[in-house]
Symmetry: C2
Subunit: 144 residues, 2 copies
DNA sequence: GCGCGGTAAGTTGTGCACAATTGAATTGTG
DNA sequence: CACAATTCAATTGTGCACAACTTACCGCGC
């Protein structure tokens, strides 16, 4: 009979735990902005460049329309974004920032510091962790 | 006006992406066992030692009864575990493995290899990643 | 022009996460 | 003993993730 793998040896569980712990640190800060973590990610993408189609948002974040459609509807209900059917291509929906949504970006600028402060790792270690994770994500997507 | 942080610089997003990519690699493998990833984690804990109370499971996995109660109900419906109210303390529920649940462990033994194979990282890098993530999770929990 | 494969967004259904609340059982304290 | 505070599991409600499906629309080939 083969041994069952041990929980405490699993990279996957370490990722899962760390990811949830990180969003838990962000949660109270984001609550001040009235955003959840995935909503914050969508706003980050739009603050860099807008308008964006649902598909483009999905590609940058790795999410599909099943996740994004209701999320965007909530952001619209909060008055942070507007969705407009594209004139040239009626299939597409362009997601625009409202002035309110745009102005939220300044309030969000200090957020990443919270993680860095709480991390207990040097900024070099954090930087190295980030690039390792990006390589890992890339490889896992190829495998999948 | 302050700059909005960039998505591609965020450790938190790298964690979030990597974690979802890792469970996506596990998903088809776990599907053969009829388990979701969180259900697999619960089974891992029980394969190491059982019976366990809901609270103990929650402490090891970082999940609360709001997540575990319905999850355990599903495992019970699949015939993998049994929940019994403790005699000494009627508040507690002891989660036992059924013979079916116990025998599943041999089928699960090869699963972590899938991640290692797909990771594109050496086993030393994976090991170092795991310990970095564990330190990070620890520190984030203290901050939270 | 017509059909048809392909594409974009939305919908439905399942299963986590997590906050907040509930209800029952136990423990601690006067 | 009485009873308030605590503990444990379950429940309720919201918001992701993700698979599977639907609907509307585009563009290509004929």
């Amino acid at each position: 009979m083969t041994e069952a793998p041990r929980l405490d040896r699993q990279v996957c569980f370490a990722l899962y735990s760390a990811s949830r712990a990180a969003t838990a640190v962000y949660r109270p800060v984001l609550e001040d902005l009235g955003l959840t973590y995935p909503q914050y990610l969508v706003m980050l993408v739009l603050w860099e460049s807008e308008p964006k189609g649902v598909k483009e948002l999905g590609e940058e974040l790795g999410l599909d329309s099943g996740t994004l459609s209701p999320l965007l509807k909530r952001l619209e209900a909060m008055g942070l974004v507007e969705r407009r059917r594209s004139g040239e291509d009626e299939r597409r929906v362009a997601v625009h920032l409202t002035p309110t949504g745009r102005s939220l970006s300044s309030k969000a600028s200090g957020i990443p510091r919270h993680l860095a402060d709480a991390a207990g790792l040097s900024s070099e270690e954090l930087e190295q962790l980030r690039t390792t994770l990006e390589r890992l994500t890339e490889a896992l997507h190829r495998a999948h």
